[in-house]
């Protein structure tokens, strides 16, 4: 039998229900993994061992009574920029080093209500700002496939934890690639849902017009299970869209959808990018062949405004970051530095409690939104964003059902390699930011490895609220 910490949710559910092992045993296997490996990987900031074993014991009692649900007894971790009741949530910034939320984020409450077992809070780029997890004030996360490489970011700890067997799935946040890019670097499935599909209540806000919360797991089928539980309207988040949640789990496995006849768009701008790693290109070409052999139709498409996504992103997002971070002022909660007056309370605490990239974004955003510059930067970027959305609107429906791209232009890069060059770091998100600006569901799935053993991810982009087709095709790519 496979080692417990390497199981998928589906496999663990079967084993728990068949009484092959208990939740306490499964949870202990993950906790042992954390003890052995977290010193090096640094995926967790806080480990909730005592709470986890208590919840696991309760889960075993529920299973003994035959009252279990899909996630009862399954160990999971949560990105530290998501609030967990009674468990410290730092967002990887020292200004929240002592912050203990009095509530669970809605998606976390839904998962815990199923009896899932929280093993801890995961390292990330502070407040989600970054693509390598090197902007954490708790140290970088290392890639389990090669510890000289980054895990990706911003949800690096969430991806590394699953890849290393420290938990079976993670709940993370994706504003411009923060779930998909680390999932690709660590060889996992990770979904950015449609904007409005999952409640963001209790997610520390970054860029409100883009932020989403989604799962990272080993397979698309596990992602489907989690989405069924997480999705749906929430009165505490007015941006959630009141639509029925599809039965993703059935759709992924059944014949309700069919690869045969599915039109898969191949956008030339993504594949023509200078700097696209040849091994990644080859892996994607292999995926195309696989889909073609299964009866899909490949359609060459153009998304002409792709190259403007990164500059658009780096105006819109820091602008919204700087507004949202105004609330992090050390007054009502958080770590406060010595000060003489109110201004000092804000300015000194923010100086000591934010890392460089957070400060840099606050500066970019404050400038872009300041009087006289708003039209030139923020308004202009929001208009270009419309052009990027229109690119997608033009092809979906009329030409294609789903779009296939690489998730990243290169495999995981070295720790320290880009950390002094913010622009180079921003470009790591070149394939994941366009669909984020358009609010579209996008899934990264593993489709092979480079010759040096680093994972390669393929990204599937669907139309608005089109999670079904990306999860279905992701499952096919992982299983054909």
């Amino acid at each position: 039998m496979k080692q417990l910490h390497t199981l998928t949710i589906v496999e663990a559910r079967k084993g728990l229900d068949a009484k092959e092992f208990t939740s306490v045993e499964l949870t202990t296997a993950c906790l042992n993994r954390i003890k052995e490996r977290n010193g090096e990987i640094n995926a967790f900031i806080t480990v909730t061992e005592e709470l986890a074993l208590e919840e696991a014991k309760k889960a075993d009692e529920i299973i003994a009574r035959g009252e279990q649900q899909m996630l009862t007894g399954i160990p999971f971790g949560v990105k530290d920029a998501i609030c967990t009741k009674g468990v410290r949530s730092t967002a990887s910034a020292k200004i929240l080093d002592n912050y203990v939320p009095s509530f669970d984020a809605t998606v976390i409450a839904r998962i815990r209500a199923q009896g899932a077992v929280l093993v801890g809070k995961q390292n990330c780029d502070a407040f989600g700002h970054g693509a390598s997890n090197e902007n954490s004030m708790y140290g970088p996360v290392r890639n389990p496939h090669d510890t000289t490489k980054v895990s990706g970011g911003s949800s690096g700890g969430s991806a590394a934890a699953v890849a290393d067997g420290m938990c079976l799935f993670s709940i993370a946040e994706d504003t411009g690639g923060s779930i998909r890019q680390p999932a690709a670097f660590c060889g996992l499935a990770g979904l950015r849902p449609s904007y409005g599909r999952n409640s963001r209540y209790g997610i520390m806000p970054m860029a409100s017009s883009l932020d989403t919360v989604g799962p990272i797991a080993r397979t698309s089928e596990d992602i489907a299970i989690l989405m069924e539980i997480m999705a749906g309207v929430d009165p505490l988040d007015a941006t959630t869209v009141p639509v029925e949640t599809p039965l993703y789990t059935d759709e992924v496995k059944s014949q309700m959808l069919n690869v045969k006849g599915l039109r898969v768009g191949i956008p030339k701008e993504y594949f023509e990018l200078e700097g696209l790693d040849p091994e990644i290109r080859a892996a994607l070409e292999q995926s195309m062949e696989t889909l073609k052999a299964a009866g899909a139709t490949l359609v060459d498409i153009s998304l002409p405004h792709t190259k403007y996504a990164i500059p658009t992103y780096y105006i819109v997002v820091p602008s919204e970051d700087s507004s949202n971070l105004g609330r992090i002022d050390s007054i009502r909660y958080g770590a406060q530095t010595a000060h003489d007056d109110l201004y000092g309370a804000y300015a000194n605490s923010r100086r000591d409690g934010f890392p460089n990239e957070v400060k840099r974004r606050i500066m970019i955003g404050t400038y872009a939104l300041s009087a006289g510059y708003y039209d030139a930067y923020y308004r202009k970027a929001q208009k270009v964003r419309t052009k990027i959305r229109q690119d997608f609107d033009t092809v979906f429906g009329a030409q294609v059902d789903v779009i296939l791209t690489p998730t990243t232009p290169t495999p995981a890069f070295g720790v320290g390699e880009k950390s002094n060059d913010p622009l180079a770091m921003y470009l790591a998100d070149v394939f994941v930011s366009p669909s984020a600006l358009a609010g579209l569901p996008s899934l990264s799935v593993p489709v092979g490895k480079t010759s040096s053993g680093l994972p390669i991810g393929a990204q599937l982009i669907g139309p608005m609220m089109g999670e079904s087709v990306v999860l279905f095709l992701g499952h096919q790519l992982q299983n054909i």
Partner: protein, 99 residues
């Protein structure tokens, strides 16, 4: 466009960030590079294009304005989180006392 350290200091004050001389210098350089890079947005003709402020199309999402009380434990946790307090009240330095 070239941002000067003086401009950086002004933005930092607006943003309530205390910066060292070294940070001021490096942000002046980095922000100049970043705003230089985003100049490429001007290549896109956006004449008559609407801004994208949201992507769901939802309009006027309203709810009843009713007070929902929270339990004593939550209240206690909220008060405990205050950086400075007097009894159950949040304490801060005077807003208008300093310049």
């Amino acid at each position: 466009m070239q941002l000067t350290p003086l401009e950086v200091k002004k933005i930092a004050t607006l943003a309530r960030l205390s910066l060292s001389e070294e940070e001021t210098q490096s942000y002046a350089e980095q922000l100049t590079a970043i705003f230089g890079y985003v100049e490429m947005l001007n290549e896109v003709d956006t004449e008559g294009v609407e801004e994208t402020c949201q992507v769901t199309g939802l309009q006027d999402v309203v709810r009843e304005d009713i007070v929902v009380d929270c339990d004593e434990e939550t209240k206690k946790q909220l008060v405990e989180a205050f950086s400075d307090k007097k009894g159950q009240l949040l304490q801060v330095k005077g807003v208008f006392s300093a310049e």
